[in-house]
Amino acid sequence: MMKNKFFNLLVVVLFLGLFSCEEEYVKPVKISYQQQAIDSTLAKNTDMEEFIKPYREKIDAEMKTVLSYSPKSMFKSDSPYNTAIGNMMADAVLEEANPLFKQRHNLAIDAVLLNYGGIRSGISEGEITVRTAYDIMPFENKVVVVELPYEAAQEMIKYLMKKRTAHPISGMQIQLNHNYSFKEAFINNEAIHPEDNKNKSFYIATSDYLLQGGDEMDFFTNNTEVFHLDYKLRNLFIDYFKKKDEINPTQDNRFTVGN
């Protein structure tokens, strides 16, 4: 009898112990997943369409504004080393940013370097509109001018030699031999040699994206001074297009190999 009671007590204690040890929580016991493609099988919510509409219409109206005309289509893949569209963009920066730089700092831009990847779209034959500027430059990047000491300018030339990509340039020329060795280079008509040593610096206009080390253009961080023009590249292109009846740039000899 006594033994039995003890056993019962043991059972109760162990039973309670079981529950207090194996504590239960509210927790996920089953998880399932489904990915929904947002596509035309879903009917558009009409309230939301109505809500978006005036915002869209305002954009469309401005985007359609005609700024200039392009007699031909241009793409960044048109030619190696330099392209019509890239040359136009770098030339536009030189033309539009130089007066600002002169007015604010009483200095002149020697050359421009943008990046090939930054040409976000081609330009089609026909009207150039505000949308064209958004297509080629959808980002909010701004123009900066950096003062590069001679060694950093040499690094820039070496970078371009090594990459042999049609990065948009203006105000500088690079000629390489057939075997891609150095032939000659100029920044604002000043001859630059990869191996010499001069006590001179250059003012190079670029995008703030590249100044931050984008596209491995680390030489920009070796600058002696940075001037923020607070001028968005897209607005710069819009201003440039507005001034011209026709945008008809060409590929030229600013960067050549084996000529």
């Binding site: 040890c21 929580y25 996920p28 558009k44």
Partner: protein, 304 residues
């Protein structure tokens, strides 16, 4: 209690109790199964101002995406299960003229209309400067969450919560946000005095708080760290491995398309789900959590 003691004690109990106790246990479990609660998580990442669908002529994603269709889907899911949490992992800004023209106002207004509960701060949220984030937050009816940026010396001081908790059908859900290192990615002129803290350390502290002080049943991280990097840079996979008690990491930044969430073992050898649904709002992820009372040692059945 140490895990070894725990196993020994329960082992003794079951051998002594024998058949009778099994029956009792089963009844108890069956009862709780009937109380099973379903929490649905809907999520996006890196929508990048894609308010309208891609053009029908788009080379990769013709007719995909669009806020009006996403809203229709959210409404459909909410009708099936009112206990639905709608979340986003950052970079709702930048990518179409909607952002260029309105600075993020429309993105935040639409997310509010769609019933988003929370989002986190991606690097592109800084594109028009930290002041613009502060200005656009006026249009957000959802919470902007981040736990590892210190905004003390910025205009965002006091405007960003580290985490938020939600109670749905008696289930408490904790959601917190983590952001990527801004130095070298975003101009200092844009993020100003925002300080970056180690996401793993911060996550550990926040999760502890969510579990012990807030008593959350489910913990979700909204991360804009990126899915997976091979180097030492912190990413969602490493975050999952180096922490405990996170149930789900909804990621962004790397625009990663996954067919289904990745299962990663955490410090306690428990499964963490890491997911990302590409970008531009062309997909929406849906994860259903069936919540119930269960023993700590019992893992969830994952049907992916």
């Amino acid at each position: 209690m140490k895990r070894r003691d725990f196993i020994v004690k329960t082992g003794v109990a079951s051998s002594v109790l024998g058949l009778g106790s099994t029956a009792i246990l089963n009844t108890a479990l069956n009862d709780s199964t009937n109380n099973s609660k379903k929490i649905t998580i809907l999520h996006t990442n890196d929508v990048h101002s894609h308010i309208d669908p891609f053009e029908s002529t788009h080379s990769k994603y013709p007719n995909r995406g669009g806020a009006a269709r996403r809203y229709a889907y959210i409404n459909m899911v909410k009708k099936q299960n009112p206990n639905t949490l709608v979340l986003d992992a950052g970079d709702s800004f930048q990518g179409t003229p909607f952002f260029n023209f309105y600075g993020g106002e429309l993105e935040f207004k639409l997310m509010s209309k769609m019933g988003y509960h929370a989002s986190t701060i991606g690097n592109h949220e800084f594109d028009n400067g930290i002041e613009n984030i502060a200005a656009q937050l006026e249009h957000a009816k959802f919470s902007m969450l981040n736990a590892n940026y210190d905004f003390k010396n910025t205009i965002l001081d006091g405007m960003i919560k580290p985490y938020e908790t939600y109670e749905m059908d008696g289930v408490k859900i904790g959601v917190f946000g983590l952001g990527i290192e801004l130095e070298g990615l975003v101009s200092k002129k844009l993020f100003k005095e925002t300080a970056y803290n180690n996401p793993v350390d911060v996550a550990k502290d926040i999760v502890k708080k969510l579990k012990t002080e807030e008593n959350c049943d489910l913990v979700i991280c909204l991360s804009h760290l990126g899915y997976n990097y091979s180097g030492s840079k912190i990413c969602d996979i490493k975050l999952a491995q180096q922490t405990r008690n996170i149930d789900l990491i909804i990621g962004g930044h790397t625009h990663t398309f996954l067919d289904k969430p990745t299962e990663v073992e955490n410090l306690d050898f428990k499964k963490v789900l890491v997911n990302q649904v590409g970008w531009a709002g062309i997909n929406m992820g849906r994860i259903d959590f069936y919540m119930d009372r269960a023993k700590a040692s019992k893992g969830a059945i994952i049907e992916l």
